[in-house]
Symmetry: C2
Subunit: 248 residues, 2 copies
DNA sequence: AGCCTGCGACATGCTAGCATGTTAGCTGCG
DNA sequence: CGCAGCTAACATGCTAGCATGTCGCAGGCT
């Protein structure tokens, strides 16, 4: 299915990676985190070649931890490893975007339905504090801060289920969507509506209404994908060689 | 069945692993698949130590692919690696069971809701064929065949979403639940009810009723976890961490 | 007799080097 | 001038060996 064809030449790859001392854990995990961050930040452009030699030279480690980190990235569909040929950063694929969005929607809807029935006062207070943070960020025009608070809002709800690995799974699933957003929708736009949708989710949780929480979460999460789908029609050239375009 | 893997039968710890030639892909992937199967089959008992040296000796490969495979297993929470100390097969944990069940329920509910609106005639025919397979297996008393068809039934529905990685994710999530089932509920029981629940799901899909499909799927998936939860109350000693394995 | 300490062995993690398959470029030919 | 075949470099995957940290046990001390 996913053939690693590169129709466009690859630009030079400056090894601008974050030093791995900023992360914790094993060397492999640190390398993994550093590479993942770079891929999400678009520091490593989609489709760019990712030479393991370059990586281990830039980070000052050997090839084994790099290989392990790359294997984990491949499992997350963030890189595409062609045996004995090369490793490439995953291209923007609407298929992956749809799948990631589907996954996150499934997870978050299940989470809000569950949380709506058992949410506590302290948890609601956390969400309200986070919402105030979002408002403050918008007032200050701090888009980055708003996005950080946005992510935290969703992670809070997921963590309220009591399942520890859920936030990480959701984040991994969302990576492809977020990458498409950063690359294709640089304009802030819709932050006010986003805040309003967060308020709706919180209101549903405060009312302990699973149905309303589900509807609000679904509507909220589908906004971004809808905009991206629109972009597929309007500017298909951005999704080169991915969404089953006729090619010839 | 060539089991010439054992060059020296005098081994204190016989890690009876399936020969990796039965799998496809890279060596690491094959090792990963073999170990995962052994863990799911309870061939590798929960809490048992998993020496990498033993593994690479039993499979005839070096330590790098084994290390990579074990890393992936750790990412799936199937093994617990203690740095410079040892690797252990994950113990049965009701937390993991609950989380895996939650995850699979979220995925499958989202899937049936989506599929109910777009299911085609050929897909319905596939599900009906699978259901006949289940019936035949029950008539023959082939419990293993029934479970295989059961798994395929769910994978079919997931694959109908068009998302390729969904079945694998669901399977990984379900591993902990299935492991608990195999160890704690060896009695077949409830196969007739299971078949009936599958019929209900199929009926909802035939009627293109997302609500009914969701309800049927949820009821179906929660049966097993409910039984396990009951076991936690009735026989808590089974979940007291170490699951009564005679290991040294 | 019980506890603490020091030592031995082990298991993992990392580093360096070799085999294998692919890809790109070049040369020769039609 | 275009295409096919070949050659050479390259990137990954694997194999072997070394450093690091931990766990268990024996011995001595209180």
């Amino acid at each position: 299915m996913s053939q690693a064809v590169l129709e466009s030449p690859i630009q030079a790859d400056p090894p601008s990676l974050r030093p791995l001392d900023a992360f914790a854990g094993s060397l492999s995990q640190r390398v993994h985190a550093s590479l993942k961050e770079a891929i999400l930040d678009l520091t490593l452009r989609p489709g760019a070649i990712l030479r393991k030699g370059e990586v281990c030279a830039a980070l000052g480690v050997s090839r084994s931890p790099v290989a392990e980190a790359v294997a984990r990235l491949a499992q997350e569909a963030l890189v595409d490893v062609v045996p004995q040929a090369g490793t490439y950063v995953a291209r923007l694929s609407m298929e992956e975007v749809r799948e990631g969005a589907f996954l996150r929607e499934a997870l978050e809807i299940a989470a809000v339905e569950m949380v709506a029935g058992r949410v506590g006062a302290e948890q609601l207070a956390q969400l309200r504090r986070n919402l105030r943070l979002q408002e403050a960020a918008l007032v200050d025009g701090d888009i980055g801060g708003f996005h950080a608070a946005d992510a935290l809002f969703h992670e809070l709800i997921l963590s309220f289920t009591g399942h520890r690995r859920l936030p990480g799974l959701s984040r991994t699933a969302w990576v492809h969507v977020d990458r498409a957003r950063r690359l294709l929708l640089p304009t802030p736009g819709r932050v006010d509506e986003t805040l309003e949708e967060h308020r709706a989710i919180l209101a549903a949780l405060e009312a302990r209404d699973p149905e309303a929480a589900r509807a609000a979460t679904r509507a909220h999460l589908r906004q971004l994908v809808t905009r991206l789908e629109r972009l597929v029609v309007e500017r298909p050239e951005l999704f080169a060689g991915n969404l089953g375009l006729p090619g010839s």
